[in-house]
Amino acid sequence: MSSTSIEKPVHKSAWQGSLKLVNVTRARNFAWLHVTEARVRNMMKWWGSIAAFGLGNPVLYLFSVGIGIGALVDKNGSASQLGGVSYLTFLAPALLASAAIQAFQDETSFPVMEGFLWDKNFFAMNSTPITARDIVNGVMASAMFRTLVTVAIYEGVLLAFGAITFDVVLPMFLSAIFAGAAFGAVMMAATTFVKEDDGFFAIVGRFIIAPMMMFSGTFYPLESMPGYLQWVGWISPLWHGTDLGRTISYGSPQQGWVTISHWIYLALWLVVGLNLAYRQAAKRLAA
């Protein structure tokens, strides 16, 4: 009698265990970047529509408003009120800043809703060495990435239309991105507070984004609005970003301190937004 032993072949690589496998220092040092990587991987699922939107939006705006309405405005000799430039040149910095804000808004609000409510994948991230702060920073960085691409495309179109000159491309790039980041940080903070998906985006769209577009000196100078409405512009990061862009683009007769106050105001939004988001995200993940 011979005994046979049945042994299954083992294909698996040896189990090392996380104590050997995971380099905690490395995981921690690049934690926010790993969140960004994950976000960008997700974004790539939509790269077609992101690119189409990034290119289509400026082209449509420039043809319809910039050239269409512009022809009317310029014919009426309004250049003096627009700082001595054509309507297209006047409009370009506003469109650029609003595109940056739009891109940042998309990438700071939807992913946060997804992360806390729809898919709850922030909770999955948080069960790894990733912290709430890493998530906020990582999402901001991925929004920045998307906005860089969007603004670069936009500037290309603006250049092609002759709405900006080549020498202001870089400074305008920076000011638009900064305005976007300032708005994005606050948008993210606001979204971290949303506990139920009951029309949050509709409210934001109708009561924040739409009025901001209308009353931030986007399509006409803020000063030409009645005084009792100008405050909307003053609090709106879009106006601050737009005014910065205009100063850079064609040097509207602005005093130095106004320019500096734009930067400071936007920086304040960024800092307050981020810190609120850090705190609230940590609270929700620990609940």
Partner: protein
């Protein structure tokens, strides 16, 4: 691996976990058993180092989770009660993406992902989006995801709730293999059969406190008899008849729909009942289970 002393979690006025003590040893499958709201999930979140304790002591792998959460989490595998997969990503991308959060290299993950797909029997589904998977497949993917860092401790919160019997058995088999590999398992469940199948040792929790601790066999020996005779006389007669037969067995328990008689020999007691001229609508003699332990400890059934 895990030591808890007087572990407490208070939310405002509500005490979810009320000063519990336990230890989990390396390579052990440890269960937290109890009905919904017993404090199991809260305890799990504290062990998972995401929710901070408000009192007592807790160390995991020798570290304090309130201070060194991210470091501890690097060595845990977490399977939450609710699958939180990335629905937009494909099955294999879910595993890869999660592995990156541990800072694991792309090269390592390439091989690891294939291995995990095989383990979870999802190789054929590797290119499906996570949202297209069935409930059982999602669960297996979530478990596979929790293994990507080869964790020292794998934590499973209600791993088979909502699964059909076949899917449950596949899962149990996978978990059993992990245990054989030396992975420490911490499992919550309100299914008694699951706890008996998987756990070496468990604590029974109710209202934030530990009611009993031991191996499943131990607990059954301590808190229940060898056999249980279940008889049904119809809901209107159960109470009345229970009094007549209360001398049988060690103890009787009257539930709305049936009478339980805890005894050493259920068949003998059934004969005794029949001799008394009583005719139950249905009768069943079975082995005692953790369900009976829980009933004894809390006076309530687990799934209400």
């Amino acid at each position: 691996m895990i030591v808890a002393r007087g572990l407490t979690k208070v939310y405002g006025e509500f005490t979810a976990v009320d000063g519990i003590d336990f230890e989990v040893r390396k390579g052990e499958a440890f269960g937290l058993l109890g009905p919904n709201g017993a404090g199991k999930s809260t305890t799990m979140k504290m062990i998972a180092s995401v929710s901070k304790r408000t009192g007592g002591e807790l160390t995991i792998l020798g570290l304090d989770p309130n201070k060194r959460g991210p470091e501890i989490r690097a060595h845990l595998g977490v399977v939450p009660q609710q699958d939180n997969l990335d629905r937009e990503l494909k099955v294999h991308e879910n595993l890869f993406s999660y592995g990156r959060f541990f800072g694991l290299s792309r090269k390592f993950l390439k091989g690891k992902v294939e291995e995990l797909l095989e383990f979870a029997q999802l190789t054929e589904k590797r290119n499906s989006k996570a949202e297209e998977l069935s409930g059982g497949m999602k669960r297996r993917l979530t478990i596979a995801r929790g293994l990507v860092n080869e964790p020292e401790i794998l934590m499973l919160d209600e791993p088979t709730t909502g699964l059909d019997p076949q899917a449950r058995h596949i899962l149990w088999d996978r978990l059993f293999r992990l245990k054989e590999q030396g992975v420490t398992l911490v499992i919550t469940t309100h299914y008694m059969d699951e706890a008996e199948q998987l756990c070496d040792r468990l604590i029974v929790m109710d209202k934030g406190k530990i009611m009993a601790e031991g191996s499943p066999a131990d607990l059954i020996k301590r808190y229940a008899s060898k056999e249980v005779l279940e008889v049904r006389f119809g809901s209107s007669k159960n109470i009345e008849i229970a009094e007549k037969i209360s001398h049988l067995g060690h103890r009787t328990e009257v539930l709305p729909d049936r009478i339980l008689i805890y005894s050493e020999n259920g068949e003998e007691d059934l004969q005794a009942i029949l001799k008394m001229g009583l005719e139950p609508v249905t009768s069943l003699v079975r082995r005692s289970s953790l369900e009976d332990v829980f009933l004894r400890l809390t006076g309530r059934t687990l799934v209400e």
